[in-house]
């Protein structure tokens, strides 16, 4: 069984290596990823946004929706930390803390 798993893994490695040979070269200007919207971003960033830093204009303007999602993710992570780990003040008798005490008893 172990040898079968190892054989399947080797098969996948061979498949990946075969697929790698079809990828474009590193930093190839003719690669599809570099010819689709990237030249537009680089050339039009001054005209569109007056922002010399292309990273900022892509991050906050062209792909602003993505960054909004990132910010929501970070805020949600912070809220989850607070809701899980926050300790209430002892005079704050809510139903949640009562339930917790009864669980410990």
């Amino acid at each position: 069984m172990r040898w079968l798993k190892a054989f399947i893994m080797l098969l996948f490695v061979a498949l990946m290596l075969y697929a790698t040979s079809g990828l474009p070269d590193h930093a190839d200007p003719q690669a599809p990823a570099n010819t689709y919207v990237t030249p537009t971003y680089i050339e039009d960033t001054i005209k569109d946004t007056h922002t010399p830093n292309v990273v900022t204009s892509v991050l906050a303007d062209y792909r602003g929706y993505d960054t909004l999602g990132e910010t929501v993710v970070i805020f949600t992570a912070g809220l989850a930390c607070v809701l899980i780990l926050m300790k209430r003040k002892s005079n704050d008798k809510t139903t949640l803390s009562k339930h917790r005490h009864s669980d410990h008893m």
Binding site: D48, T71, M86
Partner: protein, 145 residues
């Protein structure tokens, strides 16, 4: 629980000297994001680090009086609200979502308006990251507040 009021003159002096410069550099990183490396995420982290350093050397009791965790929560929510409003207000003025060219800043040119929109959004991100990281630190410390 953080030790109350670290009893060392060296640590107190160095930290109280360091914190304003960290905050100043954080503001620089946020504002200068248009022209160099930086932006809201990095600047927000630097601001949060300054508050966490204050928490470490002053102890939680005094530090919570100066910058309470509730204020951090409010700041994080405000930052997210700024970002959301920067997305929704252009929709009211006839653009699409997050289209800063339609922000109601009528006294500036169109491309300049987009640059201002990016700045507003970066400030919102900075506030959100700042508040969130301080909140995570406070909830991990486990002090009652």
């Amino acid at each position: 629980m953080i030790k109350q009021h670290y009893q060392s003159i060296v640590i107190q002096t160095i930290c109280s000297l360091l914190i304003p410069f960290i905050q100043l550099f954080a503001l620089y990183v946020i504002i200068h994001g248009h022209y160099g490396p930086g932006g809201g995420f990095q600047g927000g982290v630097l601001l949060a680090v300054s508050i966490i350093l204050q928490r470490l050397y002053l102890g939680s009791k005094i530090s919570y009086q100066r910058f309470s965790p509730k204020l951090a929560l409010a700041l994080a929510a405000t930052g997210l609200l700024i970002y959301g409003l920067a997305g929704i207000i252009p929709m009211i003025f006839g653009g699409s979502f997050l289209d800063y060219g339609n922000l109601p800043l009528f006294w500036v040119h169109d491309a300049e308006r987009r640059a201002l929109g990016i700045l507003i959004v970066e400030i919102g991100i900075g506030l959100a990251v700042f508040g969130t990281l301080v909140l995570i630190f406070d909830s991990l410390v486990g002090e009652r507040w």
